[in-house]
Subunit: 317 residues, 2 copies
């Protein structure tokens, strides 16, 4: 299978942090968090980053590269990492860049930056994920309008000599049959902001074809997951905890079909819903803080994203 | 200096391609190209990618990863590479991802993907850059309104056993003092599309503070370039040709100050202006097609981007 990695990479998630928006709302007994007046998404991203630095016992000057693995921009230009740099690293010359695979951006960035570290390019990277999903929700599409929370999560990733620590395997796939099942059609070069009018406003909102996504996932993911396990040479029972992208309430239907019964994976959909690119790192950070995941544990990070993209990443935490 | 790489990386730009928009316009004797009716930016990106595959003697099925190194999205969601995947690779499972450092996205992506190839993660990557700058220009800001062209460029990047071929050195820096000197403030989570009204439309357009950018460049770039040369252990006279980002007409003022007299670097500002992320790969592709750059030549790719970000990449073509 193309696009996989089997050998170990000796990097360590030295510290993590998270932040969620302040305004709690309820939909059908489920909690969601949205930005409140005066709160900016960049505040959440900076807060998560500061917590991650603190947890790692580091300062911003110790960081070699600032990476945002986010699905959506804070501004159309410049990239998100430059705007985080402005808040955290003004006056320093740390390189800043964005990596985007929508909801699995954290996994793609973790994969890529760990290899950059292994290659000697950087020693220590600050990786921040998160989105303000609420900026583009459509009240008319209840399924998605009631699903998302605004949040951010961050980690400090660094080279380590510890042997029992790192990324053991990573694989990403994209099946573009699903490119338009999850989308915001407008706002880019194909349907610019300047073309918005009274008739086409919905095209500038988030749109999700839930049943089509589930069908494509059901078709592609079982084989993908099996192949990843086989290539990684790891058995399900070796995994301490699986952290899936908190895509939707369908998580509890999909995960058992992929061989993950209840209790083997983190499900926080009722508590937070879908936090887009923050979903996986937020849940990972929470699991670490709550002692569910400890140093040396084998953790599977497993996500789907608009694309349709899927990421499978085995981490020895 | 942090963020640099000195050792060689044995990858090859096996083929390149380019495409520019069809409608030619003139501003003060300089040519610019903008999309014409019925032409989509994705058509340019796909055309450049198809040419690159053809020049490399490859088909899409030979590619392990599709990467878009672009400054702006085609849609707000999903990422650009998923939308290119849909046009070129539908039915295949090639991973697709975006890397963004605005105007130097091609250099950041070339740097990162070459290390991914060296690390064994991928064998052959299709990298596409380009933007439809014209989607967000403000007619009231003449300096930028008259500067940009819409274009795209692509390359196939692959592992090689050839010794005299590859990326010899790469360095990126970001100085966020310049974060708002080049920007599109609106359209992201900080000033969402839904917040646009009659009063704030300009905030959703591209804005460039030319004299501030030049001042910051004059302050930061000379030291940056000197340090890169020193770390790389390369002298200016060893370089066959330098391809700078075609930022603006000020190129011919800035380059000599950085130690690059006329004739040592490519200047196509009069012919195309600034093609955002396509600028450098478009000029590189053109120089290769015209025989200015040949196999074995040492080429310096040097760019600045919104951020302010600067990239310095030495390529043995």
């Amino acid at each position: 299978m193309k696009g996989q990695r089997i050998r170990a990479c000796h990097v360590k998630l030295a510290g993590m942090g998270k932040a969620r928006a302040g305004r709690q709302i309820q939909f059908g007994g489920q909690s969601r968090y949205r930005l409140e007046a005066g709160e900016a998404f960049s505040d959440l991203a900076v807060s998560a980053a500061v917590s991650a630095l603190s947890a790692a016992g580091r300062e911003i000057g110790d960081i070699d590269c600032i990476v945002c693995g986010m699905a959506t921009p804070m501004q159309a230009i410049p990239c998100n990492a430059a705007l985080i740099h402005e808040r955290l690293a003004r006056g320093l010359d740390i390189p800043a860049l964005d990596i985007n695979t929508t909801c699995t951006s954290f996994l793609s960035a973790l994969d890529m930056m760990s290899l950059m570290i292994e290659a000697g390019r950087y020693d220590r990277v600050l990786l921040i994920s998160g989105d303000r999903a609420s900026a583009a929700l459509n009240p008319k599409e209840r399924e998605s309008y009631e699903l998302f929370s605004d949040g951010a999560a961050a980690c400090v990733l660094e080279r380590t000599k510890e042997q029992d620590c790192g990324i053991l395997y990573s694989c990403q796939k994209t099946w573009s049959e699903g490119a338009h099942d999850t989308e915001i059609r407008g706002g880019g070069s194909l349907l610019p902001i300047a073309s918005m009018n009274g008739e086409n406003r919905d095209a500038y909102c988030f749109s999700m074809k839930g049943s089509r996504i589930l069908k494509l996932c059901a078709q592609k993911l079982p084989g993908f997951v099996e192949q990843c396990f086989r290539e990684a040479g790891i058995k399900r029972e070796e995994i301490r905890m699986t952290i899936p992208h908190q895509a939707s309430r369908a998580l509890e239907v999909l995960m058992p079909r992929l061989g993950f019964p209840a209790g083997t994976y983190v499900n926080r959909v009722a508590e937070y819903g879908n936090m887009v690119s923050a979903s996986i790192p937020y849940a990972l950070c929470e699991a670490v803080e709550e002692g569910v995941i400890n140093r040396g544990d084998l953790v599977l990070l497993l996500g789907t994203a608009a694309g349709l993209t899927a990421n499978f990443l085995l981490l020895r935490y």
